[in-house]
């Protein structure tokens, strides 16, 4: 075989690709489900923590800051490995899917809390005072005056961070989740040909190129006018 021919046979083998297309498509579905679960739970928990921090209870805030720092400092793969290979020692085994979901949720929660919090503190103090002086309560002020302004400036950093973390779903392959990479790797060992990996890479591109483009658009659309 010539160089090009052998390259095509290895990486763009249509026969192998055809055989394993359904498997990779299933992986794609699993990646989407996992990513959506992570986005919903991570962003919601992050907002909850930021709101809790806004209440200003000192010891509670120290705890929140510690938890946030912890999950910003730990590599996601280390958390996944700890949950998946470590917890069974306590009789608390969880599936690879659950370990990946929980780990990336905690990581997104930490980053999201930090961003929401920065957004809340960026709203000038006068806004709080003015709202309170019109007779609004603490939570009314937070909900009706501060959050709408705070959330707007958090959208660009939050979008980018969320995209980066959902790509971490590929780490699930390490603990046996048959998402895109996991499916592609099993297909590669079945067929002794790396074409399924090419297919997997294409699946990621189909999934994430629009999301990356969206992130770029959001960045310009919501850019803070200086």
């Amino acid at each position: 075989m010539g160089g090009l021919e052998s390259f095509l046979f290895s990486f763009f083998n249509l026969k192998v690709m055809g055989t394993y297309l359904p498997l990779i498509a299933q992986g794609l579905g699993l990646t989407v489900i996992l990513a959506l679960l992570i986005v919903v739970s991570g962003l919601a928990l992050g907002l909850a923590l930021a709101l809790l921090r806004a209440c200003g209870i000192r010891p509670l805030n120290w705890l929140i800051i510690f938890v946030v720092d912890l999950f910003r400092a730990l590599p996601p793969l280390v958390i996944i490995v700890l949950l998946f290979f470590g917890l069974p020692a306590m009789g608390l085994g969880m599936s690879g899917f659950a370990a990946t979901w929980l780990s990336l949720t905690l990581v997104l929660m930490a980053f999201a809390e930090e961003i929401y919090w920065a957004g809340i503190t960026a709203v000038p103090k006068g806004q709080w005072e003015a709202a309170r002086s019109t007779g609004l309560g603490f939570f009314q002020t937070l909900r009706l005056v501060v959050l709408p302004q705070a959330l707007r400036i958090t959208i660009p950093p939050l979008t980018n961070r969320t995209i980066a973390i959902t790509k971490g779903t590929a780490l699930g392959s390490v603990v046996g989740v048959a998402e895109i990479l996991g499916a592609a790797q099993s297909a590669m060992s079945f067929s002794a040909n790396p074409s399924p990996l090419t297919l997997g890479a294409i699946a990621y591109l189909i999934l994430f190129i629009p999301v990356v483009a969206l992130g770029r658009w959001v960045e310009t659309r919501f850019a803070w006018k200086r």
Binding site: S6, F7, S10, F11, D69, L70, R72, A73, L74, P75, P76, L77, V78, I79, V81, L82, F85, G86, L87, A89, M90, E114, A118, G119, T121, A122, I153, A164, K167, G168, T169, A170, L171, S173, V174, I180, L181, Q185, M188, N193, P194, L197, T198, G200, A201, Y204, L205, L207, F208, I209, V211, V212, A213, R216, W224, R226
Partner: protein, 223 residues
């Protein structure tokens, strides 16, 4: 409680695993010391191409950046390590990590630096050129210093991500911290080495997280 301590914070196991965990820790530091400059180099090249090249090159650099931001780094690494040998190209674990990080983190650094260069007003370049500096000199002495200062929080935060990302090198069997911890856990049937590795990552990176948090708050408040 005792069961928990035995499984997760076992002193005997920790003593036994300590030498290889320490080796892994040093390996992680070495990996970071290599991958961060590699990524930065890729980022500077991409940022310069996407801001000051001819139109065709600018578009190509932007497409390249999006491509490698869309592919998860682990996918890239597995492709380089396990896929390429089928085509007779064996770059080895080190080669796969070096190329993968150059491509992936280069794209991220490139995006950050591009935004930084974009944040420097065009008048700066014109003023620098009118004093007789060449384009290259103007970039190096006038534009880049301001660009880096404007996006410093993002640069530091990206560097943190790169150091964390070195943990995926465990997948291609490079003996860094996470890999060594997994080995020790397999040998002892005890989770203590993994907990120890997590603590080590945390102690190593916590100061950086604090620094980023302060830089980011400052940047957000300054708007």
């Amino acid at each position: 409680m005792e069961e928990f301590l035995f499984a997760f914070l076992n002193g005997d196991i920790l003593r036994e695993a300590w030498p290889i965990l320490w080796q892994g820790f040093l390996y992680t530091l070495a990996l970071s010391a290599i991958t961060v400059p590699l990524g930065l180099a890729g980022g500077v090249i991409l940022a310069l191409l996407s801001t000051s090249g001819p139109r065709g090159i600018r578009l190509a650099a932007a497409a390249w950046t999006d491509l490698f931001r869309a592919i998860p780094p682990l996918v890239l690494l597995v492709f380089l390590y396990a896929g390429l040998p089928f085509a007779g190209i064996d770059v080895g674990a080190w080669g796969a990590v070096a190329i993968g990080f150059f491509l992936n983190t280069g794209a991220y650094y490139g995006e950050v630096l591009r935004a930084g260069i974009g944040s420097v007003p065009a008048g700066q370049m014109e003023a620098a050129r009118s004093t007789g500096l060449t384009r290259g000199q103007a970039l190096r002495h006038v534009i880049l210093p301001q660009a880096v200062r404007n996006v410093l929080p993002d640069l530091v935060s990206n560097t943190l991500e790169v150091v964390k990302l070195t943990s995926i090198a465990s997948v291609v069997a490079l003996p860094e911290l996470l890999f060594q911890a997994r080995q020790a856990q397999n040998a002892t049937y005890n989770a203590t080495p993994i907990v120890a590795a997590a603590v080590a990552y945390f102690l190593l990176l916590w100061p950086l997280v604090r620094l980023i948090s302060r830089l980011e708050n400052k940047a957000m408040a300054g708007r």
